[in-house]
């Protein structure tokens, strides 16, 4: 009986339930979850990150322990204690690759992060302020742009002298102008949109407009561009180390390992390649993930 009495109430138009819209980032997450390629490379990156993070627990040997007897053991399981062989001083390659990843990742990511903060700020200021502020910032970046980035990194690093902090400083200086450019052009395009005009028309100050309307719309694209620079940064950092301008031996670092192992290139070419393979894998993964992020964030409407 109770069901029949309830029927008229059901027939009346039901009160619509409150609707909560799906925000932009939820949409990005949904598109990413449907992109197996990006997910795969992201997963590989995660594995690598975990491996180098927990290197002291995973690594089978001491990365600094040399031995004249064990020099240049081949890759494989002839000696199960050294699955990836040993280097020219008899140190375990697997251990050194794990430890070396820490410094390589650090040198790859830190300059990009610092450049993201500094370059992003300068670029947004230039794009939003326009006029002579824009002129000053953008023409200064053009000076940096006149040099190829590798040359610039080598030149700055060479002038400052070898060392990790100097290498990072020179890499940061190389990336700042590139991020400024992207930040400036994104901000300029957002600044001219009607919703920014409308915010100005409602009497909001420049700081409020940038915080509420500009930053949420430009940070994503700038960040994606920055992630694509991580791979470049890693390769440049390795290059600096290779040239002796970054890390100093016996510190394990992929670029430096590539340098020291070049003496072994004829006797154990596979081992000499290993650090290069690591650099290549990592930078490719970062590139693929940043491409996936870009396409997931690009969709409009």
């Amino acid at each position: 009986m109770s069901t029949t009495t309830a029927t008229p109430a059901v027939l009346a138009l039901p009160e619509a339930a409150p609707v909560k819209g799906r925000g932009y980032w939820q949409g990005v997450g949904r598109r990413l979850s449907r992109d197996p390629v990006t997910l795969f490379f992201g997963f590989v990156l995660l594995l690598m990150a975990l491996a180098i993070l927990f290197a002291p627990w995973i690594a089978p040997h001491d990365p600094y322990q040399t031995s004249m007897i064990r020099r240049l053991r081949p890759i494989g399981f002839q000696d199960w204690r050294y699955p990836l062989g040993t280097d020219e001083l008899g140190r375990d390659m697997l251990t050194r690759l794990l430890y070396g990843g820490r410094l390589s990742w650090f040198l790859g990511i830190t300059p990009v992060l610092i450049a993201f903060v500094i370059g992003g700020t300068l670029g947004v200021v230039a794009g939003f302020a326009g006029g002579w502020v824009n002129m000053l910032i953008m023409r200064t970046t053009d000076v940096f742009y006149a040099f190829p980035s590798v040359l610039l990194a080598v030149a700055i690093s060479g002038a400052l002298g070898p060392g990790i902090s100097n290498a990072m400083l020179s890499l940061t200086l190389v990336f700042i102008p590139q991020i400024i450019r992207v930040a400036e052009s994104t901000t300029t395009s957002v600044r001219n949109l009607d919703y920014v005009e409308s915010a100005r028309a409602s009497g909001a100050g420049a700081f409020t407009i940038v915080r509420a309307h500009v930053l949420p719309n430009v940070l994503g694209p700038i960040f994606v561009y920055a992630t694509s620079l991580i791979s470049v940064s890693m390769i440049l950092a390795s290059g600096l180390s290779f040239l002796g301008l970054g890390t100093k031996p016996p510190e394990p670092e992929w670029g430096l390992m590539l340098n020291t192992l070049r003496t072994a290139i004829y006797s154990q070419p596979l081992i000499a390649m290993l650090p290069g393979v690591c650099i290549f894998l990592t930078s490719m993964c970062f590139n693929m993930v940043s491409d996936g992020l870009r396409s997931a964030m690009d969709v409009r409407g």
Binding site: A16, A17, P18, V19, K20, G21, R22, G23, Y24, L193, D194, Y195, E197, S198, A199, R200, A201, S202, G203, A204, T208, A212, H213, P216, N217, R300, G301
Partner: protein, 354 residues
Amino acid sequence: MTDQTSLLSLPDVGGPAQPLLTVRGLTKHFPLKTGFLGRGAGVVRAVDELDFEVMKGETLGIVGESGCGKSTTSRLIMALMAPTSGEVVFDGRQVGSREMPLKEYRRQVQMVFQDSYASLNPRLTIEESIAFAPQVHGLSRGDSRARARDLLAAVGLNPDQFARRYPHELSGGQRQRINIARALALRPRLVLLDEPVSALDKSVEAQVLNLLQDLKGQFGLTYVFISHDLNVVQYMSDRVLVMYLGRVAEVGPVEAIYASAAHPYTAALLASRPSMDPDLRRTEPPLVGDPPNPINPPPGCRFHTRCGFAEPVCSTTVPVLHPAPAGQQAACLMVVPGSGHSRAPGSVARGIAA
């Protein structure tokens, strides 16, 4: 309705006889940046010596071809760009002066843009977009949200359904309703509508126009309605201002202008409307060619290069606004007695030419 104690509509100052908005000699020249360091390359005269008034409670329609300076005028009135010269007076007080600082002016004058998508921040919910302006003016977050929901209801959107959604989830008509709600959030007295329905379907257009008419009565608003659609302007406006190349061609009551246009440009615009009567349809356009380049506007009357009644005097004398027979004012030598034009009132040649 939620009680929002602060941020109410500001009171009338000068009484009903004082125009709400007076524009005097408003001029905007954009410098051309092609020369060395952007110098000495001339200017685009987008708006040139514009004078008009908007009375309290009326709707002033502004019509004209693309590129005649309609949008520049609206941005000048909104103080979104600085004029080259001229002034805007709001309810008797000069905008930007001590009696009417810019922040107070912005509370009284708001704008609805043409592009309903570009005028909403894609990262903010509808509620946040509408509540933004009241928060800028010091209303608390909760009160601003409450006001946003009230306004959503006022523009015909269920607050429960729409408040927490994002612009990309809505249709063009719904977004334009939200833009209207956003413009009303500060309880302005004057709303500039810059082609508010040009991007909408005809059926949605009618709904939005009727909504605008309702809101005008409900909130006691004054409208400046900018459009290139003559039918829409006729439907919405009490008075109409016709612009040509940054100048006023004709201004007056909507009936006078639509029934007996005094300026040949207005007449040509009206003749260019598509007719519902097949017998009255015309195949040749009433106006030929593009408007002249505003970098180098023609001397004298700016319309004389395309005018069917142009005479030598038109290229030497700049016509000023002068009362025309039907009650409007027109900037044409043909309505000025003794101007030297053969069709001018009192001219000897008038009888022969007509």
